[in-house]
Symmetry: C2
Subunit: 347 residues, 2 copies
């Protein structure tokens, strides 16, 4: 599909805003599907228009994942809820080592939401799906009364195929493993927070929202990958704590090795946030066998989404279940799982 000269087709009946009828399963619903969703997402499975889509998959293991997106604002530097909704589920699948194939898209729209904004979101979803090599094959739209939503919430669920024989997972980290991150951290969370808080820097902080499936497909043939995780909500700290707990191992990272853009660090300082806890939407953590770390790092850096990949620490048999960080002044501190939410509605 060529998106260069493509403009968002609007529903024929010419409603500039979403009305309850757009979720009613009648003509207005059909209009949204025929004039907005089908032209954007069009593929044979979706065109069938049954209650569910019929897909052909090879025998073996599938990955299945779901995520709802409630980010505020809907559009932000570097992306929108549309790219997030596609890449978020694509990346969850990729972290299981799966090749993502098919997505569903469920919209909960608020009465009064601009149809043109929905068109823009849907167009961005279609572009993101195209880039990530997945098809949006089934969908659903519900409309709630004004005051009972926030414009647009999106759920995506996804199916991917896991290569034969691959064994990776959060419980497979071993002492001695090396901890890699695929690039700078905190960009997504600080892009959103800068908009919300009206922070201005010389350079606008952009979300790192990107699909990681191609990167993972490049890395897996090298072998030696024990666990992968995309540090979204809760950031790097929560992801590493979870892997440490699942695997019954300790983790040590060095603050000076963790790459953070200067603007992101400045925004974190202003808001009193630790970049280790700030969400990312286009980065991964890889826990890898030490003898493979160099090869994996080289391959990461060769991919456009991971040019600044680096080693940030290692796995240890000491302090199982805990993440410990060496600070810039040489002290060590435990980096705990956070209790709740420092950045609500960041994805």
């Amino acid at each position: 599909m060529n998106f260069e000269n493509w403009s968002c087709p609007l529903p024929l009946l010419d409603y500039p805003t979403i009305v309850l009828g757009h979720g009613g399963g009648g003509k207005l619903s059909a209009e949204l599907i025929e004039h907005l969703f089908l032209p954007a997402f069009g593929n044979p499975a979706l065109l069938n228009l049954g209650d569910s889509s019929v897909l052909t998959v090879p025998a073996g293991r599938l990955a299945f994942s779901t995520d709802s997106f409630v980010v505020r604002p809907l559009f932000f530097p570097g992306g929108s809820i549309g790219e997030l909704a596609v890449n978020g589920t694509v990346n969850d699948l990729a972290m299981s080592g799966a090749q993502p194939l098919y997505l569903s898209a469920g919209f909960i729209l608020e009465e009064g939401f601009a149809v043109s904004s929905l068109g823009e979101i849907v167009t961005r979803m279609a572009r993101a799906a195209y880039k990530a090599g997945v098809q949006i094959v089934t969908g659903d739209t519900k409309v709630v009364e004004r005051g009972h939503g926030d414009g647009c919430y999106i759920n995506t669920s996804g199916i991917g195929v896991i290569p034969d024989g691959l064994q990776i997972g959060p419980g497979l980290a071993r002492p001695g493993d090396v901890i890699l991150v695929s690039g700078t951290i905190g960009d997504h969370g600080m892009a959103i927070m800068s908009v919300r808080e009206g922070l201005e820097f010389d350079t606008v902080i952009e979300s790192d929202c990107a699909p990681l499936s191609e990167l993972v497909a490049d890395l897996l043939p090298l072998g030696g990958i024990h666990a992968l995780r995309d540090p979204t909500r809760g950031g790097v700290a929560s992801s590493l704590n979870e892997i440490a707990a699942s695997s019954g191992v300790g983790m040590i990272i060095e603050d000076v090795r963790v790459p953070v853009e200067p603007e992101v660090q400045a925004a974190c300082n202003l808001l009193g946030l630790d970049p280790l806890f700030v969400p990312n939407e286009g980065k991964l953590l890889a826990i890898v066998a030490p003898e493979k770390a160099d090869a994996i790092l080289d391959r990461m850096r060769a991919h456009p989404v991971a040019g600044r990949a680096c080693v940030i620490g290692r796995v240890t048999d000491k302090h199982p279940g805990l993440l410990v960080s060496k600070t810039r002044i040489g002290a060590t501190r435990v980096v705990p799982m956070q209790l709740g939410e420092q950045l609500p509605r960041i994805c």
Copy 2:
């Protein structure tokens, strides 16, 4: 799993209502998962706790479907958003002829929502999944600020396996086919509307919410089924209109043959609604070859969810794309697709 003596386990940290932190990916999120979702839904795929679930499926064709649920009120006679969320997606899969296997569950909760209500909903989802023979294998929870949701919205997506060689679909109805309905219509919609409007009858109208997958599995071996549809939003009228349009055929039904409970008809009369447009959550329409209609009808009536199954009309090569109804006084009328929404937030 034995639900008889099972009570909903509450999160340890003892928050009686949902706070933003329950969606933050930190300790509070983990508490909800460990103390609420896992005990209720517990199965090996979910216990893995990776970003996605790993499933084994046979080679062949899969059905994939998604649905969001925004019903108001959350609890109503005959069910709740929990049963709806499970059965709705189970039934969408079954209408493709698939055996439903796996569901995802995505929650969008409003700050301040009672954790005990969430517990009740999750328990009902677990029971419904058990009854329908599906596993809830992956999930996600987001929390939005007070005033930006309505307690609890749920998305479920599902995967099912389609038997080899089966060909059914909304485009496969043929002139001469018989139109069957599996029981009384309008029960779900009028159960909800009676609660909302405070209508009282001698008998409380209960939702017909039920899984249809077992019924479909009983019917498919008989052969002769060309299309199946569960008439949810938009009711029987919209479903038949859609099949008529997809197949390029006409449909004729007889009003006197369409089974409607007296209380449902009374509620429809009071509210000025036509039962043909009222949503159902446990009924199906089957478009079948005439020589198989009797056998299929007998098999339907032998199943508890379809005891009142009957023939309501037939497919014709006249007036392609149109649904026509013979009224009680012998006249005929075109039953069009409705424009928008007569019953908002009914599912």
